[in-house]
Symmetry: C3
Subunit: 161 residues, 3 copies
């Protein structure tokens, strides 16, 4: 019996371009029948935020509100790792992406969910940054470093992005 | 029969120091008989640009010209990921590298080609950033995410830099 | 006989948050009986610097003094990869970490040493940046890329952070 191939990506970065790379690799691997997990930690959690403001049942503290307000709400609002120029570079990238029919990040995330890529939010960082489940996309999982290692140690393609 | 060892690096970053790390690991692995691939995507493509201006057969659009003009032409012009200080840090690093007889990036790339490290340019990003084959180093390969995964899933040392 | 699991991390980054991620994964893997190595190279070496000023036996050159002066001395002084705001972001993160009883980086490094995670300083970068053994934490190892590859090629979880 052949071993199922596994690809496990830690998405640490909150940059639009890096998250795109992560999701393109993930979608590619899923298309080749890998079991794929993206473990979103630190700024990478922003890719999983809902775009709309969410009414929370438990109130946030001051610091959590600060972080929540400063961090981009959702994949579409994330900046570039290079040549961001206060958002200009990101607009340019999106424009060339449209021109070349490249798939924008929010759509890449949808495709990953359709292909059953396991999207995981790191619960430790959620605590730190004060993000609550209601603020994140539906259909994702919640776990910590132990679950990540359980996935990672069975695969060969392990990336930290 | 022993399995050939494979090392596959995604070079996403356009930083001089990160590209150096990628090529030092790649050259080391090649010296230990690994089959090594560096898959250059996004800003990492800049490491493969020729230094001289190239006459193109098909004209570039406005956005492609913008990106082409803003991005560094070739490995020698890339900046540092930290303490770049508008290019100062890069000059300092090069100076200490000369003093310590460390190999500069363009030479590391040459060495990799001599050791038959497979240098791949990501065709999807070339499209996005408007880079044409004539602008990139000779002797490299062109491929997409499927080819990357084909290499990566057979190896153990898989890095995203 | 079951293969010992190996996790090998290249810590290239000098950012507080990225180093935290590296050490959290390393400590987690060690707790699950992986043999874990963190290979500190380039700016990642700063995590291993002693906090106090060290009297050196061999004097440093001008460039080495410059680098030494500009780089943070020890894990506790490293900045954030995102939203650092000239050190403000780092203070905020530390404050929320205290509130949530998260373990600060210097303590994560101590824990790693207690769990026998192998902490390695890249000798090539030490030369370049002019860092001497007396300036780095006690109980660490010194090695180059060959030793890194020796560890990495036997494991599955290989990350570049």
């Amino acid at each position: 019996m052949e071993e199922t191939k596994k690809t496990t990506i830690v998405l640490f970065s909150g940059d639009y371009d890096k998250a795109m790379a992560a999701y393109i690799i993930a979608n590619g691997a899923a298309a080749y029948d890998h079991e794929v997990t993206i473990f979103h930690t630190f700024w990478g959690l922003n890719a999983l935020r809902k775009e709309e403001s969410v009414k929370l049942t438990s109130p946030k503290g001051f610091m959590e509100k600060m972080f929540g307000g400063m961090m981009p709400r959702g994949a579409d609002r994330m900046g570039l790792s290079k040549m961001n120029f206060a958002g200009m570079g990101q607009k340019m990238i999106k424009q060339v992406m449209r021109k070349h029919n490249a798939v924008p990040l929010p759509k890449l995330i949808e495709m990953a969910q359709e292909q059953e890529v396991k999207l995981v939010a790191c619960t430790m960082t959620m605590d730190l940054l004060g993000l609550q489940k209601a603020e994140l996309l539906d259909g994702i999982e919640y776990a910590g470093v132990a679950a990540y290692l359980g996935d990672a140690e069975q695969g060969r393609v392990n990336l930290f992005i």
